[in-house]
Amino acid sequence: MAVGKLTFTKAEREKLAEVLWLLNWISVLTGAILISLGVFLKVEIQKWQEVMSDQGILYVPNTLITTGLAACCINFLGGKICLDCADTNKFLRWKLVMMPYVICTFFFTSCVLAGALMCYSIRSQLEESIFLGLRNTMRFYKDTDTPGRCYLKKTLDLLQIQFECCGNTGYRDWFHVQWISNRYLDMTSSIVVDRLRSNVEGRYLMDGVPFSCCSTLSPRPCIQQQISNSSAHFNYNQQSQQLNLWRRGCRQALMDHYTGIMQSIGLTVLLIWLFELLVLTGVRYLQTAMENVIRLGDPDSESDGWILENSLAETARSNFNIIKNLGKCYQIDDDPNINVPTASAEQEVPSRGVHIPVTS
């Protein structure tokens, strides 16, 4: 019992071939869109790569780019094939390629689906990466003289200014990090020495934040030092404290930014996947219809097209048997084509006379 059986007349086959040619060309365009989405995502991730600890996230845009390239090539070939399929003679050229082409398209379509699902599933890995990356960047903020870390201050400042955020979870993260380098601390001053002695690791901690945490919405000039001490500043009321610095943490800000991008990309890739599935179904119908026409012998007759020749269970069983038998290459038993010499073969078998009736 075939799956999805449809009957096609000659005119319908030709129409199907034309429509599929057009759809394949549109698919080349969607392949180009896929490539550009991958490139865009890659550029966006690489912009803030320094504040992420794990570089493995780049496999998502790389998958999208490779799948896009594959889409362009496969659909370009498919367009050529479908154009030739309208005519039975030209189809014979492509007959042997058709089945592998359909299988390749099927695999590539599942890659597109995998790419779309990856965009949604990578969220937790991204969050972990950003959390660790930001923590390290804040620790190395002061190391502007260490090669390899000298640009972290600039990157973090620009991040906090652009995304309007402060610290990892909030501005208090800066209170636990020494963000002023020892080069700029006067070690002879008693204040500095007291602070350094006040904690176990000998770090210069203070309740102050870098200038990039300052909020532009604040009505008063930014208060960066002695933030938790309300008596240190004149008229430092609750509202001043609320508006003074950015309240959002940079981890949350970056997550929102990337989640937004990836959700849009994921949705677009899902739509592209549905379109590719449609094209794949059309090509499969065209392939089976053309093969049946050739089998029937008459190029003008009607023919059947289907998705699977037998039901799903039977096809699965036969494919499984093929795979099983691939491993049995060198085993001789039960293959009827191999001549196994037995003892009785040595006896002569008398030839039987052929009785030809004589017609009179």
């Binding site: 502007t144 003289d145 000298c150 201050k153 600039k154 400042d157 620009l158 200014i161 963000w179 002023i180 380098s181 080069r183 700029y184 601390l185 006067d186 001053s189 870098p210 200038f211 990039s212 300052c214 532009t216 919405l217 009505p219 008063r220 000039p221 930014c222 960066q224 500043h233 004149f234 008229n235």
Partner: protein, 343 residues
């Protein structure tokens, strides 16, 4: 002796009409481009109109928008005429107005050229507007409680961070104005009273800048206050410290941004002008080649095409004579009317 005479047969005429029609479609897109550039420039000016004292002139972007719209209209019409020129019956209905249309096109091209020149020239008034606007903008930095000026602090901060600049000419401009509001000054403190007493206007001046002047590329945390006092900070010399705050003035930064924008727009409008001149010449050739058919009833006959029917000098004297005749014609009418009234 016509200017740039070219002989045409049917094939050449068809080729000409097709080419000019194609060029007209490019010209329509060029008109859309001019329109969108004018719109973009207008939006950019409006975005920062607070920094220009709400006083900036929108003449240039409005002119660009207007010219872009007219260009679209003219070019669409010209394209239609070229398309119809292949069919003698359809072309006949456009024929009478074609001469006036071409004159209008020439005038329009001249105006487009003037617009391009204006793009390069309008930089100078913009410079003065920006200088005035920034100076008063900085004065109102502290007035976040005054309606109408409460966004000035935010605008200035965002501008200084975006354009990487500080103050009007440089960061010292902030030393000359009071940018901390009195609401946040403790008037009972001795230090505050000293500072206010130290100058004639009773302003709280200090050698400090707002946080938006800070340069993220600086290797040390930003020094905003007591900038000229080397002893206030460890290992600090304000003469050699270059990376601490932005060195550029915001007037210069904004001017180079808008200047660059206007130069680009001017260059593009010049290119569009050249395209427009090209299509006008093309249309003139189409018109002249279809009016000089050797055998008017046979569309396949040969013809000639030109830019001007006579030489430049003769055309010029013709135009002058026509204008003089028009002037005399009105005088003669007046004279007759006067004679009539007298008698």
């Amino acid at each position: 002796m016509a200017l740039m005479l070219v002989k045409f047969d049917l094939k050449k005429r068809v080729k000409l009409a097709q080419t000019v029609w194609f060029m007209y479609w490019f010209a329509v897109m060029a008109g859309v481009l001019v329109f969108s550039m004018g719109l973009f420039f207008k939006i950019e000016l409006r975005k920062r109109s607070e920094l220009m004292d709400n006083n900036e002139s929108h003449f240039l972007p409005n002119l660009l928008i207007f010219m872009g719209l007219i260009a679209c209209g003219i070019n669409a019409f010209g394209g239609k005429v070229c398309y119809d020129s292949l069919d003698p019956s359809k072309f006949a209905k456009w024929k009478p107005m074609l001469k006036n249309f071409l004159v209008f096109c020439v005038v329009f091209n001249a105006l487009l050229f003037v617009t391009a020149l204006l793009c390069f020239v309008m930089r100078i008034p913009l410079q003065f507007t920006l200088a005035e606007g920034l100076r008063s903008g900085m004065k109102f930095y502290k007035d976040t409680d005054t309606p109408g000026r409460c966004y000035m602090k935010r605008t200035l901060d965002q501008m200084q961070m975006e354009f990487r600049c500080c103050g009007n000419d440089n960061y010292r401009d902030w030393f000359e104005i009071q940018w901390v509001s009195n609401r946040y000054l403790d008037f009972s403190a001795k230090e505050v009273k000293d500072r206010i007493g130290s100058n004639v206007d009773g302003q709280y001046l200090m050698d400090g800048v707002p946080f938006s002047c800070c340069n993220p590329s600086s290797p040390r945390p930003c020094i905003q206050f007591q900038m000229t006092n080397n002893t206030a900070h460890y290992s600090y010399d304000h003469y050699t410290e270059e990376l601490n705050v932005w060195n550029r003035g915001c007037r210069e930064a904004l001017l180079s941004y808008y200047g660059g924008l206007m130069n680009t727009i001017g260059a593009l409008v010049l290119l569009v002008t050249m395209l427009e001149i090209g299509v006008t010449i093309g249309l003139q050739y189409v018109d002249s080649s279809l009016s000089t058919l050797v055998n008017p009833d046979d569309p396949e006959s040969e013809s000639e095409g030109w830019i001007l029917e006579k030489t430049v000098k003769e055309t010029f004297t013709d135009i002058m004579d026509k204008m003089k005749a028009m002037g005399k014609g009105s005088k003669v009418e007046e004279g007759e009317a006067a004679v009539a009234t007298v008698s």
